[in-house]
């Protein structure tokens, strides 16, 4: 009975989403200001019912209600309580519910900040969000209802995929979705601006914080996913150019371009139509990502559900929403043209380069991800595209982009040249070059030519990002949140580049069969296999090996890699053991018993791999700093500038939400 309540709540949410779309879009169009009052109420109501539906599904999981098909497929009474809750997003139906829940959360956030926006504009944006919500609620109710009953009920469930029984999996999908779906707000604001045909650039000012927040969430989500794949899939890679990874990476790349082009539009009123196009593209790629992951058209480690009819439904949605937005763009963008010039070496032109190169990079990923699908549908044979394509092709646009970051940060708006920043930039470049050579030849001796180049670029970005904050602090000036945020994010980028450079060029991997007492040498580290024993877990049994690592005879760490067999599904799973360190990770994973008392082992040494995830995290922190800090500064400035009591009047004039 409770389960049917959840289903019913979802239907009510659909009705409210329809109302939100109807009043939000038609109220302003038909000049009915009184209709607008219904929009925020519909959005809040929608959130309440979606939250209720989610709570009902969680309850079904917690209470082991195996008469619900989704619960029976993805849970088991032996599953620990924590994973019974996170099993909610363990498969397709529940992830769609999570998608919708996250969308309604973003909608709620927009409602809460709508008083800063003109009423018609806010209503239109909420109306567009209502349309998206309608589509996804319909999709869920019609093709992937998580509340569908299983008659007759089974005694026990089929269990959650063991790969997903992991703490990182509890946070990775929600945070990733916060990013993915967050671009829907940028999309809605862009659509509202286009519908109104606004000639000003205020919409860019309003869109900026939303885009940066979504982008920061997406960066965290991708980093978490990569970290999870690294230790949970057991074989030590952190990025596979898998279609599902690419699906989240493409919107992130375009989102990065969008943040930078929004800065130009907001500050200088340039690039307006390009910015709008990027906002539409970022969300379209999020939708496409959902399509790629959920339709099962692409072979992927992540595609746990595959059902072509859903794919067709999503394809229809894609055509409707992307086509609609692009049509709107073709109609309105010419009205919103911007006319102003800038010099060749100015902030604007560097940001233009940033945008072009990031877009090319996204196109490279897009081409590689969709090529198998296109070749297949044209009858050109079944092919696959892997890292040998992605790695070099991605570097072609990204390396120039990264080399320009330091210059772009210090170029002046509009005027030509670098001004007084020229000398410190040259000094930092020289220092980075020397440090990079010392690092790549001294510490991490390796013949790759790309290593010193990557290291120089990474170090230069970090040092150049520090110039401005240090200069301001030395002169006793305040550091505005926007500058602090930008510097932090760019430092994160530099850290990330350093990590990628060294982990790509200096990783040592060995697959080897070892008998107890035998050892293998990886660089300076010696891995000795000491044997192992059988173990028993709450819902699995297995074997645990012991590997002792020494460096020049001094003990470093003892690892206990496991091989588990989960009872319910009979799945065998490798659980790698990792000795994590600031400057290197050491990994040991068990293969199998290869006879004669030996086990096959996979052993790895990965330098600076933590920098990859820490870098992404710092980037996200930079974004959040800029948004939250700026908001505080503005409210403080507003309070200081106006006499007491008048501060409220500032609202509605279009401040930053």
């Amino acid at each position: 009975m409770v389960v049917e309540l959840g289903h019913y709540a979802l239907i009510l949410a659909l009705m409210l989403a329809a109302a939100q779309a109807f009043f939000g879009l038609l109220g302003p169009a038909l000049q009915r200001p009184r209709w607008l009052a219904a929009v925020p109420s519909a959005a809040c109501g929608q959130f309440v019912f979606i939250a209720l539906a989610t709570a009902v599904l969680v309850h079904a999981f917690v209470s082991n209600d195996f008469s619900v098909k989704y619960v029976a497929d993805n849970s088991n009474s032996a599953l620990p309580l924590f994973y019974r809750v996170t099993a909610l997003w363990g498969a397709h139906e529940g992830s769609m519910l999570l998608w919708i829940l996250v969308l309604s959360l973003w909608t709620l956030a927009l409602v809460a900040n709508a008083q800063h926006l003109p009423p018609f504009f806010a209503a239109r944006a909420l109306g567009v969000l209502g349309v998206i919500s309608c589509c996804f609620l319909l999709f869920t109710l019609l093709t992937s209802n998580p509340f569908a009953r299983l008659i007759p009920a089974v005694a026990d469930g089929h269990d959650l995929n063991p790969v997903l029984q992991d703490p990182a999996f509890a946070v990775h999908p929600p945070i990733l979705y916060m990013g993915y779906v967050g671009f829907s707000v940028s999309f809605a604001l862009a659509c509202a601006a286009m519908i109104e045909g606004r000639r000003d650039q205020l919409w860019a000012h309003w869109m900026r914080p939303w885009t940066v927040m979504a982008w920061a969430f997406l960066a965290c989500g991708i980093a978490l996913g990569s970290w999870w794949a690294y230790y949970e899939l057991g074989w030590g890679g952190f990025w596979f150019w898998d279609p599902v990874e690419n699906a989240s990476f493409m919107p992130w790349l375009i989102g990065t371009a969008l943040i930078h082009s929004l800065a130009v539009t907001d500050k200088r009123g340039l690039f307006k139509s390009w910015t709008l196009l990027l906002a539409v593209t970022a969300f379209s790629l999020s939708l496409l990502g959902t399509f790629l992951v959920r339709s099962g058209v692409l072979v992927s480690v992540h595609s746990f559900a595959a059902d072509p009819s859903r794919g067709i439904f999503i394809l229809g949605l894609l055509v409707l929403m992307i086509g609609g937005a692009l049509g709107l763009y073709a109609w309105r963008a010419p009205v919103m043209k911007s006319a102003a010039g800038f010099d060749f070496i100015s902030r604007e032109s560097f940001l233009l380069f940033n945008n072009i190169l990031l877009t090319i990079a996204a196109a490279v990923v897009f081409g590689g991800t969709l090529a198998p699908l296109i070749a297949d549908s044209l009858g050109l044979g079944t092919l696959s595209v892997g890292p040998p394509y992605f790695n070099p092709s991605f570097l072609v646009p990204i390396l120039p982009m990264l080399s320009l970051v330091a210059l772009g940060m210090h170029a002046r708006w509009r005027r030509g040249g670098l001004g007084e920043a020229r000398r410190p930039l040259l000094v930092t470049l020289a220092v980075s070059l020397l440090l990079a050579l010392a690092l790549s030849l001294g510490v991490y001796a390796h013949p790759l030519t790309l290593t010193p180049i990557g290291a120089t670029v990474g170090l230069w970005i970090i040092l150049a990002a520090l110039l401005d904050p240090i200069d301001r602090l030395r002169r006793g000036l305040r550091l505005p949140a926007s500058v602090a945020g930008m510097s932090i994010a760019h430092i994160g980028l530099g850290v990330f580049v350093l990590g990628i450079t060294f982990v790509q060029s200096n990783t040592i991997e060995r697959d080897i069969a070892l008998k107890p007492g035998e050892a293998a040498q990886l660089g300076a580290y010696q891995f000795r296999y000491d044997g192992g024993q059988d173990i028993m877990g709450p819902n699995y049994e297995g074997f645990r090996g012991q590997v002792s690592i020494t460096r020049n005879g001094a003990p470093v760490s003892v690892l206990y890699p496991e091989k588990r067999r989960y009872w319910v599904q009979g799945t065998v799973q490798t659980t790698a053991a990792i000795a994590a360190g600031f400057n290197r990770d050491l990994l040991a994973a068990l293969g199998e018993d290869v006879g004669a008392g030996a086990w096959s082992l996979r052993l790895q040494y990965r330098p600076l791999i933590r920098f990859v995830w820490i870098g992404a995290l710092i980037m996200a922190i930079g974004g959040v700093t800029a948004v939250i800090g700026r908001r505080r500064e503005q409210s403080l400035a507003a309070r200081a500038a106006l006499p007491l009591g008048a501060a409220g009047q500032l609202r509605g004039e279009g401040g930053t939400p």
Partner: protein, 153 residues
């Protein structure tokens, strides 16, 4: 420079950049794209000598042999019409087993043995790589064993 000429300069520069990037990406794509073949198409001589490709099919029951105490394994991949012997010297994935679908990356050597450098079987046990399922289905007309294997998924 007049604004008009400057804009032309910009557009040409950007087009050249995009063109170079596109050409490089296409080159990388052509060199690194991997086609999929099943044992029947290999028997028909469709694979060029030395070409790196993806081999897919079922691991034949009872074909897995290992040199005790070493990583070296041999098994046979079949589509129930033709067979290809495979040699591999790395750690096999968790879901690799006899009678299950598998995809391997590698090359054929002179004797017709497939030297794999990567073996994939990383999905749940219900899962059959779609290309393997499809080629089994195509072959099922002539072989009841393949039909049974294809139906099971």
């Amino acid at each position: 420079m007049t604004p008009r000429r400057r804009r032309l300069f910009w557009v040409l520069g950007i087009l050249a950049g995009v063109g170079i990037a596109g050409a490089l990406a296409l080159r990388a794509f052509q060199q690194n794209v991997m086609f999929y073949f099943d044992p029947s198409r290999i028997a028909a001589g469709e694979v060029k000598p030395g070409q790196r490709f993806r081999l897919g099919g079922m691991v034949e029951q009872g074909s897995l042999a290992r040199t005790p105490g070493s990583l070296e394994v041999r098994f046979v991949v079949t589509d129930f019409r033709h067979e290809v012997p495979v040699r591999y010297a790395n750690v096999l994935p968790d879901l690799f087993r006899e009678g299950a679908g598998v995809v391997a990356h590698g090359r054929l050597d002179a004797s017709g043995t497939f030297i794999a450098d990567e073996v994939l079987a990383k999905h749940d046990e219900k899962y059959m790589p779609p290309e393997v399922a499809r080629s089994l289905k195509q072959n099922s007309a002539s072989s009841p064993a393949a039909a049974a294997a294809g139906e099971g998924h």
